[in-house]
Symmetry: D3
Subunit: 239 residues, 6 copies
């Protein structure tokens, strides 16, 4: 199967690491194709960024279907453009937040998300509300590091570890989700750090969650419901 | 006070009627300015349309603030671009769905929305979820008439009346909301038709609700919370 | 338009300040009339006080309609007698809690109320439940100052400021509501104090919210639904 | 133990039947005392009636405590005055709705209430909301018979039976509650009628539920929490 | 009336104290019969223990009905086997958690449970969810003492008192429930300790709650709904 | 990877078809092993059956881990024994209901389950409540065919089709789940039948959902949280 991963930003600095991450988690016979945007923003950290990125995300999604892809991943924890994309193609489309939250629901009593900046906390809580799993969400916390500074992995891991301990102790989280797809390649070692402290809890990498969930949907032979995501009616559109 | 109404479509066919509607409901000393989009779609009937309209909605909002407006209304029941717009300006921004639903909450036990097409029902239910008033929503129904065919007012009124009766009898709605800002100038006569049938229930015109709610916010001297709608960080943006 | 404000207590000590407050927020062409009760209690701080005040609140409401008022405000954050009053007149009736909470819903992700005494916290939470907006309520906090000691404005402001900071930091409130109509004339300066601390959040004055909401309803030409608030059947009543 | 039953209306026509009903369900060593109101209304069918009845309900409750009663029942399905009464005495106070709903929660998946008139449906749904059991409430239905016409038992039973079947078939109710304390002495035969039709579901008599629940609370040695129902502060009260 | 209490463990060490406890709270004319299990586990502290205990709990329940008992109590706060038991007999069956939580709902705004070990917290929260009263549950806390070490009453009381104070102050609990039926004979003195500290809140003994609730149901003449708990179809069963 | 599928009944009549079904959906390099129970019941159609099956389900789960399996599926839509099984092994354990519901959450606005008999409807609704996705559940319907009569595939398909149409039209379901793992090999043709009628909605086969979800969890390298599912303490257990 062939899957296109849309990195919904206009810079290519994450492309290589994203490709490595997705290849690490995808099945043997899954072909991964990484693209980034021509128009949009350098990172996604607010609803404004999401709105500017959406039109080109939709172009890249239509392109993916034309090229014969079996599914599309919008590689961002804000799930930007995902609902619109599901309307316009006949292949499954996922962001990173929904699959992470749904896996978390099956793994423990309540889950917390640890994300980059405070501004995105309401956005993430609203995703959980619309997805219908708000009741399982213990908290959303942030490490206060902008997306474009996530490359310092040691700093990032320490900051995440600190918030994760608070999520467990204060918010009663039993499962943890990394709340930004820029937080790559560190889920496993965070799990180990927490286990050493006596907390054997799953730590979910959102990119990994999205690829496994999408492969599962394709394996099941299902796509989004056309009663929720009807094909847009024909009309004049000027972009 | 000066208010800009953004009609979030690329055609001007509604502009005059919209202006008349808003002037009918606004206070004496409120100045109304109507603009439509340069880029976007001919009508908004799905998430795809909303996504394409959002970038220019945001331009028109920034422009409004620069010109000294005291508030902005995005004149559509899908509230497209509203959350992003609140991030980028320091004046209150409203769509039509939120104010209609909040007024409805105060007027009766449960409310129903009657909208244009089935595809927008999940969108409207999700607005109620995110706004936190889902529990008060008895139902969302549709008359199955596309936005661009709403001009036949008699057909529209009859179709709405039929669905409103069902909302009252089957879904136990006590308040009714017209679920599209294209349904102008008919709320009062629908109220009368229902009252004749023995149902003295409020019928809310969404454009009227948005202007009265916005005038009230401006009168209170408040705008959106900067903890929910933080100013977007500086970064490269290419549109 | 003419609006009666019922101050639901048997003392007149607040009347002048209430009049000033309402006139400050009402529109130019709104006429405000203040009345207090003949029977009831010196302040409202528990359900018992509300129950004793309700019968005369209802008298004053009937009187208002007879005198040609366009709407009635019961000037108390417990909304005492409001539902009963809506049954017996054909003009809109509001307390102070409902409008404050509904405006708060549109301004940010979650809101907190800071009120006078601990005993009224369950009452206020129950209002939010019945109104259907419980999910948006971050917390109700109290300053532990009885209604009849609210006149020391500096003490009050400092106590409110302290609790508001806790509401923001600990309860994640993004909007704040003053939870007693006796807390007059201080919303603006509390907003400034919080803004200086880095929290640009709306602070809602409940009396101001009630008058702006009522003017909006009257402007919309709507009143309470007769399916929720049916006219009481004729029968023997001895008071 | 000694229990006062306050019939919260100003007529004595129900007193004898109420006494018989309560004695039928109370334990051997329970002494039942019936009183009705001096001031209030002839029946309770709206919030307005409840508000007019409340002050004398509170008098009768204080009197009960002074006379050494171990608990008080306000014999009405609207639970009028119950919360205020709990504030002012140190003995448990119950209406009829809360105990009926709580027993129903333990007996089956969902319950429906069948009451007298449509106007009280929102009142009953709000009681379930405030009590926190809204999720278990399948529906509230009415037979459209005023309280003062409930004496025709055959007509009443047939009307109730018809609505109960609809509650079971359409609303998926598994437990049924008679939603007015005027519906005395018929729960058992309604249960039999439903059982014959193949529906072996509990039918709860609200007066019986209130006396059994109150005896249980007294047996447990508990009364209402003083953190929810604090003693009203001393102040001027003029009634 | 005759009630069988099934102590769902394979050791008899609690039997005498259980008998004393139940006799202390039951009515004069209630006959109490205590049995423990032949197969199962020495205590119940996880879902695994509950699953192993269930088959013999069901045997003991069938036996009770055959012997003419009027009701059965499964004496454990995890309510193990309760739903299955309700399917197979025509007499009411209760565990200890449901009655405790339902009494708590009527006594105050929110309740907390203080239980033995952390592992049972999700189990107890899930009981509240399924019972439909999750909204009233302030928190579940634990004292970290295994069931088989509960005999040191002073240690237990002090540990409970400490957690109860936290439940009141931090979680805003207004009613408290002892979350293990092994915590016998101490509810009253915990209530006194809290009252001395200024918190006059009910403390519910779960065994006492179960017997009073069951006597009430039997007095009402009702049992579980056969629409929720249908009789199991005939089929091959090998145990 | 190696997965054991526990068919939680004491008869082998489904084993071959189950094996075929799981092999059809599993990945190439997944080894499937089917076992049924030695003790339990011939089918699972009530909580009583689940309780009798649980102990041997747990034995078969422990055995699976000892034999080196990477995960276990309890092949029943009631998820019997799943929570207990998660406590006792260090490999992920899934039933069929949870994965089906979680996939459904991502595919559309609301989902319905169509199951075998009415008695299991409350059980399935309770699974959705505990899983935290109740808000997404449009309805649970039944075809009224016992598990052991599911072999007549044409009858079954027609009955399911009829209920699915009602779920779509009356309950507003946008996604459908087959609510019994005995309904094998028909999801695809039901999807086609619905698509022909104009409803292009996903139809989820619960066995297929469980194997794809489990493979995904194993691929992610996660298992159940030890804070939710702690290892049972050592103690005497007699089975």
């Amino acid at each position: 199967m062939k899957i296109r991963v849309v990195v919904p930003i206009i810079v290519d600095i994450f492309d290589k690491e994203v490709e490595k991450e997705f290849k690490a988690y995808s099945s043997e016979n899954t072909e991964i194709e990484i693209v980034h945007l021509d128009k949009g923003t350098a990172s996604i950290e607010c609803v404004y960024d999401e709105s500017l990125a959406a039109p080109d995300i939709l172009n890249k999604t239509i392109e993916a279907e034309k090229k014969g892809c079996d599914g599309v991943i919008i590689d961002c924890f804000g799930d930007p453009g995902v609902k619109a994309a599901r309307e316009i193609v006949d292949i499954p489309v996922l962001g990173a937040a929904e699959p992470s939250m749904l896996f978390a629901c099956s793994l423990g009593h309540k889950f917390s998300v640890v994300t980059v900046l405070e501004n995105v906390i309401p956005m993430i809580e609203n995703i959980a509300k619309v997805l219908g799993v708000k009741e399982k969400l213990a908290s959303v916390r942030s490490v206060d590091i902008p997306v474009l500074e996530l490359h310092d992995k040691e700093k990032l891991k320490n900051a995440l570890y600190k918030e994760m301990l608070k999520a467990i102790k204060e918010d009663k989280a039993h499962v943890l989700i990394l709340g930004c797809t820029g937080m790559m390649g560190i889920a496993k070692s965070l799990h180990e750090m927490l286990e050493k402290e006596g907390y054997d809890v799953p730590v979910i990498d959102p990119a990994a969650a999205s690829i496994k969930f999408l492969e599962a949907l394709i394996g099941l032979g299902v796509k989004q419901s056309r009663l929720t995501y009807m094909k847009p009616p024909e009309k004049e559109r000027k972009i």
